[in-house]
Subunit: 379 residues, 4 copies
């Protein structure tokens, strides 16, 4: 693991998720550039001193020099964003599998360069678009694909957080790097959570956003990156919609949600109650499909992402664990490229194409901005 020292929420989340299904063991780390933090983190995680490294370069080099059955197999990258690409490229070139926190890169150009660099490497690249690990998201995608809603007309996806409503204090590690362009990239809120919303919409629809009309705002004075934004969307198949992402919706926690409407019905999913998927067939009472083993109406892709019977709630860490488990299966299966079931470089490039279009649209007086058709096959 690179990054994830004390005080870094997402590093701990990755460790929990990787441990849940028993496929991973944490063997080494370069958790923090701060030596004390690095050591304390290692101690708390029972990492031996000879597998604790001061920086990621040393870690890659020294691990690569170990005998094959002793060295780490997967590098988990949970650093600030600006290190995602350099580490990913170096790690894959050194023969390690990479599982990287999102976003894939700081910019669309950097994401493309990453895609080129890792093209053809013999190891795997996975991207932690965690919300794509939820069973009911796969259920929604399947119902859309099966035509249960008919042709899709509308998509509303939103992600209104509140935790950046006040100016970040300088000692809030979470907030401070996220609002620093050199570490976070050219977008704040859109890069941090807008990409989740965007990726969720494209995934559930299995469609490509081709144009958007977007605005980014910075509501908190003195902040250097956007903390809020919204966009009107058009997709290749003719669906229209709205995307909202904000980190100044004071009082809100993490209510990512998606609603999809077709000719014959609609679906609604809310991350804060992730085990329910509301299905509204036109002209019938609405239904609530529920995650869990043995639950009625679920497709195989949803069921295999559940661990316990219905009514025993699973959550965010289980969603992330689903990505880790599929990644482990791909490693065992000696696959290369992207692991089935795990978001990869294609999703990473899409996310950056979205950010790129949002930035351009914000600067433009023209209504519609095309989203570059990269990172995904045409439908």
């Amino acid at each position: 693991m690179i990054g994830g020292g004390e005080g870094a929420f997402i590093g701990a989340a990755h460790r929990h998720a990787a441990g849940l299904d028993g496929h991973y063991q944490l063997v080494c780390g370069a958790f923090s550039r701060n030596e004390d933090n690095n050591q304390r983190t290692a101690d708390s995680l029972d990492i031996h001193d000879d597998r604790l490294y001061n920086d990621w370069q040393t870690m890659l080099e020294r691990e690569a020099a170990l005998p094959e059955d002793e060295r780490m197999q997967v590098v988990v990258i949970v650093t600030p964003n600006h290190l995602h690409v350099p580490i990913s490229v170096a790690a894959m070139k050194a023969g390690f599998h990479v599982f990287c926190e999102k976003p894939a890169a700081l910019s669309l150009d950097e994401a493309k360069s990453l895609a080129s660099a890792i093209q053809g490497q013999p190891s795997l690249y996975g991207l932690a678009h965690t919300y794509l690990g939820y069973p009911m998201i796969w259920q929604a995608r399947q119902m859309v694909a099966d035509g249960q809603l008919g042709r899709i007309r509308k998509v509303f996806v939103e992600y209104p957080q509140g935790w950046l409503s006040a100016k970040e204090e300088t000692d809030n590690k979470q907030a401070s790097w996220r609002t620093d362009p050199s570490q976070s990239g050219d977008s704040g809120c859109m890069g941090d959570i807008g990409t989740h919303a965007f990726g969720l919409a494209e995934f559930v629809l299995d469609d490509v956003v081709t144009e958007l009309c977007g605005v980014l705002h910075t509501h908190v004075e003195g902040r250097r990156l956007d903390d809020d934004g919204a966009a009107l969307l058009k997709t290749q198949r003719g669906t229209t919609g709205v995307l909202i992402a904000s980190q100044v919706c004071a009082g809100e926690e993490n209510p990512l949600s998606i609603r999809v409407y077709g000719e014959k019905g609609g679906l609604e999913w809310r991350q804060m109650e992730p085990n329910s998927l509301i299905y509204r067939p036109a002209g019938e009472p609405y239904q609530v499909l529920r995650a869990g083993l043995g639950q009625a109406g679920l497709c195989d892709e949803a069921v295999r992402r559940c661990r316990v019977p219905g009514g025993h709630p699973e959550g965010y860490l289980e969603a992330m664990a689903n990505l880790y488990t599929d990644f482990a299966a791909a490693i065992r299966g000696k696959l290369t490229g992207t692991a089935p079931g795990v978001p990869g470089i294609a999703e990473g490039v899409r996310g950056m194409a979205f950010i790129d279009a949002m930035l351009k649209s914000t600067d433009s007086d023209q209504k519609w901005q095309s989203v570059e058709a990269v990172g995904t096959v045409k439908k």
Copy 2:
């Protein structure tokens, strides 16, 4: 009552609402141009034959000729939209109070002409923006005005219905005139329900939308008016937001909702559970304020719009009845113009200014379209 024959939902709703608090008695009507329907409606409502009229012109004329203590006092207009202005003008000129179903007019120009025509008339004009009769909407407005949320940054208002997901059948009276431009005006969905969403946002914020970037869509083939749309919004005080209105969100009933976020917290209200107002003060557990007599934390304007103690749900008809009751109080108080607590011509003109801007924005490649500053005082 003019309009509201058999099969017309909104006419019956007005009758229930007017009856709820005991301030009105239905004394005469011209319910339908269809003579049979007109007669049947009159019979079911115990309207004497000599107070049943074949058309609204006759009704105004004959009622005006009755002795003052016998003739009707208020004309309720629940016809298709294209008759709203002609009847309103004629009725007010004949000295009657007018309570009109929304929208006020077919177009911004017609709304302005209505405003001019009724300016200075000695009677009252009320507009059934029913959702502004809900107690918790007044509570929300008060909390915003009191600064409980701090400066307002965001507003999200949406109204996603599903009932026009399929092509209207020719015998669906509700659907057919609503999608006929000559009866409904230049906008379908936006005129029918988008105006509700728009008016709700301006009311709760007590602010004016100055610019928008909007799109209207017609998803159902062969339909002559929009059935869906969305807009990015900017207000005079610097709030930004999103408005969504649609009648092709298959499976949805009538989930009008508004969310408002300021520097210090947020509010959320959903019409389908209208007695709850979620208040999210930043950094504290969220609270649910509840409508009802004797409930904690409610402002006077909210309490006086409740009839029963908390936990005894009130709904849509009670909201409309609140408008009727305030209208009755203004009549008794011999007020002119607009009744306090009741939306009037100002709100009517605002709604049409919104439609006008949406139509222009849809036709334009430019991102931002100004909303004409009419129908409301500058803040």
Copy 3:
């Protein structure tokens, strides 16, 4: 109307409910023994002085002396409980229809005497078991009757209010008479709201509770009647269940609810969201049936109790108005006894049999107490 002066919640509720559908006009009253209150109430309701009476005896006498087409037709009784029977008997003997707030009587014996006294009278007796006016309660009853749940095994009905958590102040008119045995009867909470829960269970199941094991508690020191209680239940058809009623569940509003489970599925209804009925067919996703005109899956009895399309919430006053409207239809149809669709003396006697059994069970060391088989036909 007898009772219902200023400060009496339920009187106003009855007036709103009677007005909602336009079938009633308030023509006379004896609203309060307090002369000032009586006069003020009359004034606010536009009751002429010559139809305002100082006491109910005078009102019955003088109204009976009026010409038939001038006098009142229906007496609405909204007094404290101890007057329900005397007024009901006198009014029916004087030829008036009676619509009485529940409970029907102070005790089982008094209820039986009422039943005898009004037996064969040419007018109608209705009892305001308001919750039986909700459309989704009729829907639930129908689904049970149709066997959609299979044989019924379990019923849970509960009514946990909080408003009597503190000792009532002497000037709280609502609370003070309810806790005075001479005005309220031998039971406080059970008589006030337990009877609603009991009646709801028997109505939805269309079954008869034959035995119960109950306890009544008085949690607030110095209170003379029970403010809380619970019972285990057995019905004639072999359903078992639990009934809870309390007025010391601090913080609760009015969350009456019922859940019913059969071999093939379950139903759940909550009064504070009365337009939804959750239907859980075993082995399928659960569904939510929704009240409203044009809604899918509703039986005729449910639909005819709705006024507006789905998504426009109806509530408590509409439920009560449904009883009033059915009562009006029975009057117009010149029926006698009990109006179809309206709870009557049978339900009244059942409620008192329940209270009687609860009181006996509380005083007994034996587990099971039979509930007297009166007030209802054997199934």
Copy 4:
């Protein structure tokens, strides 16, 4: 691990929970008496053949013979109930820590014998009352203890499942042993889930149920144990309440819930939305306290049981993992007896005392049955 072969839900749950926080490694097992199942399970879990055992006796013996730094430290018991005591006693006598699925024993007598047998052993005994691992349960307990609700008057705890609504098929491993008295004990539903409800009530109240009036039912013909029941409760401190547990509430998943009401307010928690705790202070809007790092209003015991910020849902496996993590901390701290934060033999004995009282009460005509005052200190 003993038990937990293929098809056994709870064994897999324990493995996930133990893995989540990285404190455990699965080193050996006797997963099934069926040799094939045992082998397949071991293979899927990467257990070496030399640490896979045919029966638990062999496992205890052989592991005890290994060098201290190689042998297992903790025995996890996830067998049918009748083996819980024999294995627990043997394992603790062999010096291993024991973490046992509930119930602790088949009967109150057996539970007492277990308590005696393990008294003074140098290792730890933990019992998987998983629901006591939820952060918001600790929050509720703390709020009660702090007097935020005032003196507690009422507790309602219920656990209405539906999965045994139909007769279990002989090949449903989950259902079949649970309804076999020789494997499950003298109670079915009450032993399986009633004990959870009972333990939850005593834990949140920090009080002792002293008397109950209970009934057990067997609704499904041919079933040998109860599948449903309910009880009226009295506690030492004067709280009264109701407990419901059922496995024939067709259509229900796993909606364990608890509501507590005191003089000054109430609390409500529902396992299927475990991250919310509804707090209803009398005379104020109700609040929803939310689990998560950095959330407002949470006590230390709640916060330290959370892994991620608010809005990232945690669930059932995280609750169980909280028990495992506290158990690991106690092992590292070389504690004996019961691990702080983990239910132990005292809770186990209480659960069996409850079952014992339910069985006696069911067989009795007397209303109240005392619950033996064992397994817990007097308050």
